[in-house]
């Protein structure tokens, strides 16, 4: 008996973690494993149909590539499971509208809720309402103000993005005396932008030969990326590396760099857009890497929601319950590993 459940746990774990990265990936594991005997809850989740689950999904308006990819990932993942029904609301950036949508899902008595709030703090109350109504909440990415408002949080690591971008640049430039870097940040009104910058600065502290000489904030848009990068290129006639927080504004930044005819530095992007990965693979410009903030987290959120409803834990972990919070890793995609990540790139 202990043998069986241990094996099951490991196989299930392999299936879940393999699937977590590649949305379209289906498990290679043999399907004829018998579950742990009886009606006792299985310790780890897997692909096999279980109790039918209705998952309510509420997210912000998909007004740019990353959020669009979030919706796609959630929908594709839900389709993969025969036992999952997805109730998806229309995205909204308006707090009141999103609260109303979540309340509708609560009234429909969905089994689990996945909420990506447009504004985490503002949606906290409705998260509490759901939890109090006995509906577990998976809080996706933008975190609620109170841990009572969600059962499990899964999201990206903005500080880690900055840290890993800084480390990558640091390793490239560590032997270059008096190296200089510049930063094209995202929207300064968002806390996540400050976290990315903080991580970047902290990483650079390990490389005393590198100095950050300029930082400008853009608005995460192509237009702002082009405009701010064009200014930065004028302001800094010479520098060694550039970290750009976001691949969407990176499309504009790369235009500005091409228009200025500059090739004398290396650039690291952020988020993991397909266009950025294509450029890294082609290796014919300044863009050498991008730090991930993967939209596959939405697919993982569906996995977690399903596991919660079926009262399972995460396969591959000793815990019987799913953890309270999961922070994704901000991997650095370079020419060497780009093929592995290309399927997750969004456009």
């Amino acid at each position: 008996m202990p043998e069986t459940s241990r094996r099951h746990l490991l196989l299930g774990g392999a299936a879940v973690s393999a699937g977590a990265l590649l949305t379209a990936c289906t498990s290679n594991e043999p399907k004829n494993q018998t579950p742990a005997a009886g009606s006792a809850p299985a310790p780890g989740t897997d692909d096999k149909p279980g109790t039918p689950v209705t998952i309510g999904f509420a997210g912000p308006q998909a007004d740019h590539g990353w959020l669009n990819a979030i919706n796609d990932n959630a929908q594709q993942r839900a389709k993969k499971y025969a036992d999952v029904t997805l109730e998806i609301t229309e995205g909204s950036n308006e707090t009141a509208a999103q609260i109303g949508q979540v309340q509708t899902l609560i009234n429909k008595k969905v089994d689990v809720l996945v909420i990506l709030p447009a504004d985490g703090k503002a949606l906290t109350q409705v998260g509490l309402q759901a939890m109090n109504a006995g509906i577990p909440v998976v809080n996706l990415d933008r975190v609620f103000a109170s841990p009572q408002a969600y059962r499990c949080w899964i999201g990206g690591d903005n500080y880690g993005m900055g840290l890993n971008a800084g480390r990558f640049i640091g390793e490239q430039l560590k032997d270059k005396p008096n190296a200089t870097v510049i930063e094209l940040a995202g929207m300064d009104s968002l806390e996540l932008t400050r976290q990315r910058t903080q991580g970047f600065d902290d990483a650079l502290k390990n490389y005393p030969n590198i100095r950050k000489v300029a930082r400008q904030a853009a608005d995460f848009t192509v237009e702002s990326g082009q405009a701010k990068m064009a200014q930065l290129l004028q302001a800094q006639p010479k520098f060694d590396a550039l970290w750009n927080h976001d691949d969407d504004q990176g499309v504009g930044a790369l235009r500005a760099i091409a228009q200025a005819g500059r090739k004398d530095f290396l650039m690291v992007g952020g988020a993991g857009a397909k266009s950025a990965m294509d450029a890294i693979k082609a290796d014919d410009g300044v863009l050498k890497a991008t730090v991930l903030y993967p939209p596959t987290m939405a697919a993982s959120a569906i996995d977690l929601a399903r596991a919660l409803a079926q009262k399972k834990g995460i396969g591959g972990m000793a815990e019987l319950e799913i953890p309270a919070s999961i922070t994704l890793y901000s991997a650095v995609v370079t020419k060497d590993n780009v093929d592995e990540y290309l399927p997750t790139g969004f456009s």
Binding site: Q61, Q216, V222, E223, A230, Q231, S275
Partner: protein, 333 residues
């Protein structure tokens, strides 16, 4: 032109007035502001600010919003307002960069951008001139629906342009005698706008409608048709601006043209165009745009952050309007 209310210019201007160029005291004060800014830029970052490439950049960055502001100046002069310019730029830019449009290359993109701009302007114009809607409301509705449509067309995605003939317009190889093509378009639109406002019946009618619509009607002007044409003109400018933006950013995105309406109104107002209508100056508007673009440039060169830039922009608007009120009072008495 009895229906206009020109500021009384000092007597020594009469020779210029004979040539038809009124050295408006407001424009002079804006030129002063610009001179101060150039001095500040030159002193703080002499090597970078006065570099040819930087001056080319400042003018390029002024081009897109500058073209929009020329159209906006006409609308405000007629006593109206166009809040939809940014959204029209967004819609025109995403429509012109769909894969279907890109198949037709340069001409396809240019034609679509302009056609969408004119189309949106036409809808605005019909609603306002013949539907009797207040410009504020009609263009606010256009703002919302054009942005919504832009989002629907792109599905939130960034549409990257692959037509080389379009992209090549933005690189230094395309510069004519050191002037970027975008700046040439901006200059042409400015010149055309100045001629249209100051030298044609259309311009005089625009001022007349803004000054006193009832008097204009009694004077035989078809006020409704005039209003319709003005919003079409503003839409046309948005279409041209959208094309320039496509050249510049190499893509269409539903977030394009964000807050252009506020920038264009601010530039026109500090340029000396009356928000209540009846007086407009193209030269002033263009100077207003240049002031804002130069500030942004100087701040970026000195690595000041965007929060400081915003505060400074607000301060400049207040200061410029206060100076103008004073000089207007002085020259009127």
């Amino acid at each position: 032109m009895t229906l206009t209310t020109p500021a009384k210019a000092p007597a020594e201007d009469s020779r210029w007035r004979a040539l038809g160029i009124r050295a408006d005291v407001r424009n002079l004060s804006l030129l002063g502001v610009l001179a101060v800014l150039v001095t500040v830029g030159g002193l703080t970052r002499p090597a970078e600010f006065l570099a040819t490439s930087n001056l080319q950049l400042v003018l390029t960055q002024a081009s897109v919003i500058g073209v929009v502001t020329v159209g906006m100046t006409f609308v405000i002069t007629s006593g109206g307002i166009d809040l939809s310019v940014g959204a029209i730029v967004a819609l025109a830019s995403v429509w012109a960069t769909t894969l279907a449009t890109q198949e037709f290359g340069f001409a396809g993109i240019l034609f679509t951008a302009v056609a969408v701009g004119v189309g949106c302007g036409l809808v605005n114009g019909v609603l306002i001139a013949y539907g009797g809607m207040v410009p504020f409301i009609a263009t606010l509705a256009m703002l919302a629906s054009a942005r919504g449509l832009a989002l629907q067309i792109t599905d939130g995605r960034t549409q990257i342009v692959t037509v080389d003939a379009v992209l090549d317009l933005g690189v230094p190889d395309a510069y004519v005698l050191g002037i970027p093509p975008l700046v040439l378009v901006f200059a042409a639109v400015t010149a055309a706008g100045w001629l249209l406002l100051n030298r044609t019946t259309f311009g005089r009618r625009t001022v007349a409608v803004g000054g006193n619509p009832e008097a204009a009607r009694l004077a035989g002007i078809d006020v409704r048709r005039q209003r319709l044409l003005l919003y079409v003109l503003s839409g046309l400018c948005c279409g041209i601006a959208a094309f320039l933006l496509i050249v510049l950013a190499g893509s269409g995105q539903n977030t394009n043209g964000n807050l252009y309406e506020l920038d264009a109104i601010a530039a026109a107002i500090i340029g000396g165009t009356l928000l209540s209508g009846g007086r407009g100056t193209i030269v002033g508007s263009v100077l207003g745009v240049l002031v804002f673009t130069t500030i942004t440039n100087i701040f970026a060169l000195n690595n000041l952050q965007s929060d400081v830039q915003q505060i400074a922009k607000g301060a400049i608007i207040v200061a410029a309007v206060l100076v103008q009120r004073r000089s207007a009072r002085d020259s009127d008495t």
